[in-house]
């Protein structure tokens, strides 16, 4: 069935709540209004009631921490951190508590927690509502990080996130919510750590994360018009990261552009570039190209925000640079 990412997430929440009564949804305005600012949790209250669809006060430390504590003791919470920027308010609970439970308690603990959160620029929401920040999370041992770029992946990955037993941060790019694609019906689960080949190709690999996978696909179309065959890979999860698929693609193409909307220092682009430089050196015919946002906050003004976010043209330019090397 054709649906948007927003609808796919909503459907999956309905299905998983029906499937397992330990699944609870909690967050600010998830139950009231239209089901959150973008309606992602719409209809859950009517179906499952306020005991399982829990509106919280504006108190992210307590939301994330309590979701973690509930996960540790038998619930399977899907907590909403409205924007990933609000990580700043609640980081201790995630970084020092939830991420560490399993390891520091010697393997006793299971924390089946999903934190759904919105990421990304492009909607004019300014410096405190537009960040990416997933590289920070991917750097924390004990947390899994998921970055779906289409509705089918959103469904399969969210089902997996809810059913597996580790803390997961599920990053929803707000500029992708309305993107539609075919979504498999019924039980559909995608294991973590498996990249998706978006477009097969032979001349160059474009590895795009979250919304940048969509832009990489558009760049591949432009490159194809010039006779260049680009392979587009979407890792889909950052931790675990499907290093094998990225290396396999580079072994075929010899060239790599990583496209990541985060700031460049310590970005996922840097991580993937470093990984390929270390383990795929023999495959490379050109230096790995990183296409990222600049080392600046996200400006409020739309004209500068457009400059900030990597564009299809940036990807095409970097691909050509690698090809001309």
């Amino acid at each position: 069935m054709k649906m948007s990412i927003r609808e796919a997430i909503n459907l999956t929440l309905h299905e998983e709540m029906a499937r397992d009564s330990r699944v609870v949804v909690m967050g600010e305005d998830v139950a009231s209004g239209q089901g959150g600012v973008y309606g992602v949790t719409a209809g859950l209250t009517e179906k499952f009631g306020v005991a399982r669809v829990i509106d919280t006060p504006i108190t992210e430390s307590a939301i994330v921490g309590a979701a973690g504590g509930a996960a540790l003791t038998g619930l399977r919470p899907v907590a909403e951190l409205m924007f990933i920027d609000f990580l700043g308010v609640c980081l201790d609970q995630l970084l020092n508590q939830i991420a560490k439970f399993r390891y520091m308690f010697g393997g006793q603990a299971r924390t089946p927690l999903v934190i759904r959160t919105m990421i990304g620029a492009g909607e004019g929401t300014g410096p405190q509502h537009s960040q990416i920040l997933y590289p920070m999370l991917a750097a924390i041992p004990g947390i899994k990080v998921v970055v779906p770029s289409n509705a089918a992946d959103a469904k399969g990955l969210l089902a997996e996130a809810i059913r597996q037993d580790d803390p997961v941060v599920f990053c929803e790019h707000k500029a992708l919510y309305m993107n539609e694609c075919e979504v498999p019906e019924g039980d559909y689960v995608i294991p973590f750590g498996k990249a998706r080949t978006v477009v097969a190709g032979t001349d160059i690999t474009l590895c795009g994360l979250s919304r940048m996978a969509v832009l990489a696909e558009q760049a591949a179309v432009e490159l194809a018009a010039e006779g260049i065959s680009a392979e587009v890979i979407d890792p889909r999860t950052l931790s675990p990261l499907d290093e094998e698929s990225i290396l396999a693609s580079v072994s075929k193409t010899g060239r790599l552009v990583v496209v990541d909307e985060s700031n460049p220092l310590c970005s996922m682009a840097s991580e993937i570039a470093g990984m390929v430089a270390e383990f795929g050196f023999d495959y490379l015919d050109a230096p790995v190209q990183r296409v990222t946002a600049p080392h600046t906050p996200v400006p409020a003004t739309p004209c500068l925000e457009k400059e900030y976010v990597p564009s299809v043209a940036d990807i095409v330019r970097s691909a050509k640079k690698a090809l001309e090397y």
Partner: protein, 325 residues
């Protein structure tokens, strides 16, 4: 308390300016001429103006996402504000902040804030500056009823008491946080300050005189080394959470009643204490306000966008942000 004609004139001019500024930007926004999100302050004008009337540029405020009224009351120029809301180069923040991050350091206006609960610790820091440097200044944090639940607010309350800071916690109880009715009875928020050992008072937020009297006392206390005060000013939100929110989650009849009862302008004009302000002066103020709005809107809409190179400026004091090589 007696009011001079100058005080009455300023109070009316500021409240009227806030009202008409917002009605004007609301209409421009609806026509798609202003970017981003804007949050309307209507019917809370008496809070900002009562709070800031006795302040100078050496006093500080930390504002919220609903910050236009605070800016105007604290003395920010309409021209710089209008340019900022239009995200133009000559705006107060060069277009990088927009409505939700507007600030003016020259006026002691330490920023609107898109992080709910982000302001109070910052305001506490400004109060620490005033106390340490013995400027005689005070610092005020504006805090929504929803924001009052953030841990940052509790921590700032405690710090202000422990350090005996010249600070005012100005809670604006407008009954709603986004789409959720504030479940706390009136006065509950102010009570919390009492638990930290801070004097507190609840006032009618649509009564300029009540707000101003409470603030005058709190500011005096702060200036005289008497430590912090909490004020809960109650006035129902008039429009939706953000412009474009139809607020169909509110009861129509109740909303109509709240709108009428909560309008601070007729209330101020009908109060016997306002008698010295005659009809002619009111008409003069009104036409000056409208003329200034016409001028600044026209100027802001025609003004230049920041050029692309501005993306990299002001990340640091002494070096620029950078693009990926």
């Amino acid at each position: 308390m007696d009011y001079s004609l100058d005080e009455l004139t300023r109070a009316y001019r500021l409240m009227k300016t806030i009202r008409e500024f917002e009605e004007r930007i609301r209409s421009e926004y609806q026509q798609g001429k202003l970017p981003g999100f804007i949050h309307m302050y209507r019917n809370q004008e008496a809070i900002a103006v009562g709070a800031c009337l006795d302040m100078t540029n050496d006093d500080y405020i930390a504002s919220t996402h609903r910050g236009h009224g605070h800016c105007i009351a604290k003395g920010c120029e309409l021209e710089g504000m209008m340019l900022e809301l239009a995200c133009k180069q000559d705006g107060l923040c060069n277009g990088k902040g927009g409505s939700m991050h507007i600030a003016d350091m020259t006026k002691g206006m330490l920023g609107a804030n898109a992080i709910v609960g982000g302001g109070p610790p910052i305001a506490a820091g400004a109060a620490l500056t005033a106390k340490t440097l013995k400027t005689g200044g005070v610092s005020m944090a504006f805090i929504g009823d929803g924001a009052s639940d953030q841990g940052t607010v509790a921590e700032a309350l405690n710090l202000a008491v422990v350090l005996q800071l010249p600070m005012i916690f100005m809670y604006e109880n407008n009954f709603y946080a986004e789409f959720t009715r504030n479940p706390k009875p009136e006065g509950r928020i102010a009570e919390r300050a009492g638990a930290f050992g801070m004097p507190s008072i609840v006032v009618d937020g649509s009564d300029f005189y009540a707000v101003h009297a409470a603030c005058r006392e709190a500011i005096e206390r702060g200036r005289n080394g008497g430590g912090p005060t909490a004020i809960e000013a109650v006035s129902a939100r008039y429009y939706g959470h953000f412009e474009g929110d139809p607020q169909d989650y509110r009861d129509g009849a109740e909303l109509r009643a709240q709108r009428a009862a909560g309008d601070p302008l007729p209330r101020f004009l009908e109060d016997p204490r306002t008698a010295a302000l005659n009809a002619n002066s009111i008409a003069d103020i009104d036409s000056a306000v409208f003329a200034e709005l016409d001028r600044t809107v026209e100027l802001a809409l025609a003004a230049a966008d920041p050029t692309p190179d501005k993306l990299y400026t002001d990340v640091y004091v002494d070096y620029e942000g950078r693009a990926m090589q």
